[in-house]
Symmetry: C2
Subunit: 192 residues, 2 copies
Amino acid sequence: MPRQGLGKESILQAAIALIEEKGIAQFSMGELAKRLNVKPASLYNHVDSLHDLLEQIGLAAISRLTEAENQAIQGKQKDEALFSLAEAYRFFAREHAQLYRLILGLSKLDSQVLEKGAGDIVQPILHVLSTYGLREHQQYHWQRVLRGVMVGFAVHEHAGGFSRFPVDENESYRVAIQCIAEGLHRAGKEAE
Amino acid sequence: MPRQGLGKESILQAAIALIEEKGIAQFSMGELAKRLNVKPASLYNHVDSLHDLLEQIGLAAISRLTEAENQAIQGKQKDEALFSLAEAYRFFAREHAQLYRLILGLSKLDSQVLEKGAGDIVQPILHVLSTYGLREHQQYHWQRVLRGVMVGFAVHEHAGGFSRFPVDENESYRVAIQCIAEGLHRAGKEAE
DNA sequence: GCGAAAAACTAATAGTATTAGTTTTGTATT
DNA sequence: AATACAAAACTAATACTATTAGTTTTTCGC
């Protein structure tokens, strides 16, 4: 086995750290190379392209997000699980704003690799919804509703577009999730 | 008055047309200059920077969006207005995908100019909610809830992340808005 | 027709990702 | 321990970005 260099994994870790520190806007192959004490061109021995690298980082970020979600709902059911999931999602989007941005931006980079990520994201949501006893197609609809609300709030908080009114954002989020909870109860009853 | 050239307005219009045709990813000062039969540097006689230009385009896009919304809710009340507004929002996000992308991305470009845009966006939403007879702070909360859902769905449809389940996306959206409608009725009764 | 003001230009800088071709270097084998 | 190989890292180049400074061209008002 010939010489052992950077390695895909160490590059990925360095890239994630760099993005979380300096922000996605400052990220570049040059900056990454600088941090790894290497010339930019050398990175191409381990990575196909920036596009490819961002995709991998995005997948890693999705993995962290879904892990947090799964942990949040462990052993919980219905409303308790629902609020816990929603809280975990929002917390991640806030605490890892740069990684979350990257996840959002990921969509435009096509790729089949993301198919896996998309599946992972949906899983904890479906798990929570499964405790409400909905019919299958209802479960799919409500999965979109819940995901829509969580994404919508996250996007807006990133944009700072929620700060213009004198009411607490946490409370707004609670209202939203409570609204969904009641919708889920109704749908659950109809399915009986 | 000396020689009359491109002018801010014609540049803006050309930029919007170019973005809608070729997509925001292909947009650059060079491409814009090419379309205007001018060298890139010449654009700087009329525009401060790409950043500045994108901001102006974003404001124009917001203006078109809110115009569509206001038209959609004209003469309507409560649920009828609510569904009509939601439909108009989604329609715009779909039909002007590139411009909508730009609006979403606008947030990261700070600027005070956007304050106006943010106000415009909120206005039709508040107008619809005002027909439900909520208390003021409730109205602010529900404004965020509704906006969150609309943004969330739009973002997801852009990402193509909704297509993985065999249920109609239009119906999912209807479920979401209906959920909010019922929440609004409850909140309206509590306020009586 | 003339002067001035602004538009459009040329040329340059600094940044981006990326590729081809060369050199270095670590490791595994003899 | 010396060597050969393979991959890592390098240098140098290309082709894009946005942007600025300085120069030339144009055209409007007089």
